[in-house]
Amino acid sequence: MPEAMLEVSNICKTFGGVRASRNVSLSVPDGKITSLIGPNGAGKTTLFAQITGFLKPDSGSIRFLGEDITGASPEEIAERGMIRTFQVVKPFAGQTVRDNIAVGAHLRIRSRRGALAKAEEVAREVGLGNRLDQDASSLTVAGRKRLEVARALATEPKLILFDEVLAGLNPSEIRDVIPVIRAVKDRGITILLIEHVMQAVMSLSEYTWVLNQGGLIAEGVPKDVVSDPHVIEAYLGKGMAERIAAREKADV
C-alpha cells in the first residue's frame, strides 16, 4: 500500500492541564476531500497547528509526501506544498484583494508582475474577480473566506487544510462556497477540512475523523460516522444516542 499524502502518528499535546491532542493518528489519502469534525474545543485547530508547524507536538510524528516534517517551521511546510487557512480569517487589512492573493503567489513566483497576474487568475476562480482592487478589510465574511481560499490556492499547494471555512456563513453563502471547494479538489489538490457543522461535511467529504476532548472517537464514511452512538454523544451529550434510537423505533 502506498504511503498516504499526510501521515499523522501518535500526536500528543497538552497545554497546562488541558490535553488538546491525545495520541491522534490519521492518514490523509491523496486526491480526496477528507474531514475532521468534533465539537468546539475538541482540539481540531490545535491539531492543524501542529501539522503545519505553528505548534510543536509533545510527542508523535508527522510525515508529508513521505518525509518527516515534525518540528519543521510553517514556512518550510508551506514550501513543501501544505497550506493551512485560519478559523478566524486573517486578511492583510489595508491591502487590496489582489495584493493579498499575490503574497501567496510569491511563494512560487519571484516576479511582481507574474504574481499579480496569478492573483488575478486565482481571484476569478474563487469568485473574487470583481473585487480585485477592493480593500480586503471591506469584504463580507463570505468574501474573506473566499480570500483565504484564494491565497492558499495561489501558493500552488498539494494539500490544503481548511479550518472551518464554512463557519459563520449563512446557508446561501455556504451553498456558494461549497462549489469553490469542490473546484479546488478538481484541480487535483487534496483537502482536509475541519468543520463542526456536520451537514456541510457530509456532502463534501469522502472520509471523516471525529475528535472529542483531544482524542479520535470514530472514523469512516460520513454517513456511518454520524450515526455512531459515540459521535452523537460527543455532540449532544450523554444519553442522547439512546433517546434518539428509542424515538426512531417509536416512529417506525
Binding site: 503545519t52 505553528f54 517551521s73 510553517p74 514556512e75 508551506a78 514550501e79 497550506i83 493551512r84 487557512t85 485560519f86 486573517k90 486578511p91 492583510f92 487589512a93 489595508g94 491591502q95 495584493d99 499575490a102 503574497v103 501567496g104 510569491h106 511563494l107 513566483i109 519571484r110 516576479s111 511582481r112 504574481a115 491565497r151 492558499a152 501558493t155
Partner: protein, 325 residues
C-alpha cells in the same frame, strides 16, 4: 511603473534646487530637509513597510557617523571609503539588533524598547572609550576638498545628501513593488497568515532592518561630514531616533513620499517656531513630542493618509453608484 516615473521627476526637480536657490540660509534648510527625508525613509523601510517600530535608529545613525569620523581622525582613512564603511558598520549593528530581537519573536513595544536600549548602550560606550573621543567628542579637521568629502559650497553638500536620499527613496520604491516588499508588508499586517503562506518572516524582517540601518548609517556619515563634529549625545542620543520616526509619521508611514512630505512639514514648523520662540535649548524635542502626540491622536495615517482618503472617496462613491445601478 507610474510611481517610478513620479519619483524620478520629483528627484530631478529636487536636483535643480541649487541652481535656483543661491542663499546659503535657504540652501541649508533644503539640505536639512533632504537629510531628514533620508533618515525618515530609512526608518520607514522597517517601521512603515515592515511595521516594526524602532525607537533606536540612532544606533545605526551614530554608528555610520562615528565610523567615518573615527576612520578619518584616528586612522587617516579617506572619508569616501568611510562612507561605505559607515553604511556597512550600520548594517552590522542592524543585523545584531535584528538577530537579538526577531529571532526571539520580540514585537511591538518590546522591540521598540530593545532598540532604544541598544542605542543607549552605544551612547554610553561611545562616551567612555577613547577611540571616539569619549565625552569630548570628535572634531573632524577641516580640509576642504571633494576628494576628502568636504566641500566649500553648500550646493555640493546638497547634491551629496540628494544622492543619498535618491538611493533611499529608490530602495523604498523597490520595496513597494517587489516580492520582498510584498512579503514584508504581509508580515506587518499579519505575521501568522504570512508564515502560513510560506513567507520566511524572520529572514524578511532581518533584511528589512539591515536595509533600514544602511540608509540611517549613510545619514550619519552625511551628518559627520557636514558638521565635522560628533559627540555621544549627537550620535546616539534620542533626538535622531525621534526625528527618524516623526518624519514618516507626519508624512504617512508605509508610503513612498510620506518621509519627504514629513521632512518638509517638520522643517517648516521648526523654522516658524524658531522665529516665534527663539533658540531655546531642548525646544526641538518638546516640539517633536507635541507633534508626535498630535499626529498619533488625530492623523495616525499621516498627511499622505489625508490626501489618499480625499482622492479615494469620490472613486468609492462612483463604484457604489455603479453597483446600485
Amino acid at each position: 511603473m507610474r510611481t517610478l516615473i513620479i519619483l524620478a521627476a520629483v528627484f530631478a526637480a529636487l536636483g535643480l534646487v541649487p541652481f535656483f536657490v543661491v542663499s546659503d540660509v535657504w540652501l541649508n534648510i533644503a539640505i536639512m530637509v533632504l537629510y531628514s527625508a533620508l533618515l525618515g525613509q530609512a526608518w520607514n523601510m522597517l517601521g512603515g513597510y515592515g511595521g516594526q517600530f524602532s525607537f533606536g535608529h540612532a544606533a545605526f545613525f551614530g554608528t555610520g557617523a562615528y565610523t567615518v569620523a573615527v576612520l578619518q581622525v584616528q586612522y587617516g582613512i579617506n572619508p569616501w571609503i568611510g562612507l561605505f564603511a559607515g553604511g556597512l558598520a550600520a548594517v552590522v549593528v542592524a543585523a545584531i539588533i535584528g538577530y537579538s530581537t526577531f529571532r526571539y519573536g520580540l514585537k511591538g513595544s518590546y522591540f521598540a524598547l530593545v532598540t532604544l536600549a541598544f542605542a543607549e548602550v552605544l551612547r554610553i560606550l561611545s562616551n567612555s572609550v577613547p577611540i571616539t573621543g569619549a565625552g569630548v567628542g570628535l572634531l573632524i579637521p577641516l580640509q576642504v576638498a571633494p576628494s576628502n568629502l568636504q566641500f566649500a559650497d553648500k550646493g555640493s553638500y546638497y547634491w551629496l545628501v540628494w544622492a543619498m536620499a535618491l538611493c533611499a527613496f529608490a530602495a523604498a520604491c523597490w520595496i513597494g513593488n517587489s516580492r520582498f516588499g510584498a512579503q514584508l508588508m504581509a508580515v506587518r499586517d499579519n505575521e501568522d497568515a504570512a508564515r502560513a503562506l510560506g513567507v520566511r518572516a524572520y529572514s524578511v524582517k532581518l533584511r528589512a532592518i539591515m536595509l533600514s540601518g544602511f540608509f540611517s548609517g549613510l545619514g550619519g556619515v552625511f551628518y559627520a561630514q557636514y558638521f565635522l563634529y560628533l559627540d555621544p549625545h549627537i550620535a546616539y542620543g534620542a533626538s535622531v531616533s525621534i526625528e527618524s520616526l516623526l518624519v514618516p509619521i507626519i508624512g504617512g508611514i508605509g508610503t513612498l513620499f510620506g518621509p519627504l512630505l514629513g521632512a518638509v512639514v517638520l522643517h517648516a514648523i521648526s523654522e516658524v517656531s524658531r522665529d516665534l520662540i527663539g533658540d531655546v535649548p531642548g525646544i526641538s524635542l518638546v516640539l517633536y513630542g507635541a507633534l508626535l502626540v498630535v499626529m498619533v491622536l488625530f492623523l495616525p495615517r499621516g498627511l499622505a493618509g489625508l490626501l489618499i482618503r480625499r482622492k479615494a472617496a469620490p472613486q468609492n462613491r462612483k463604484k457604489q453608484e455603479a453597483e446600485h445601478a
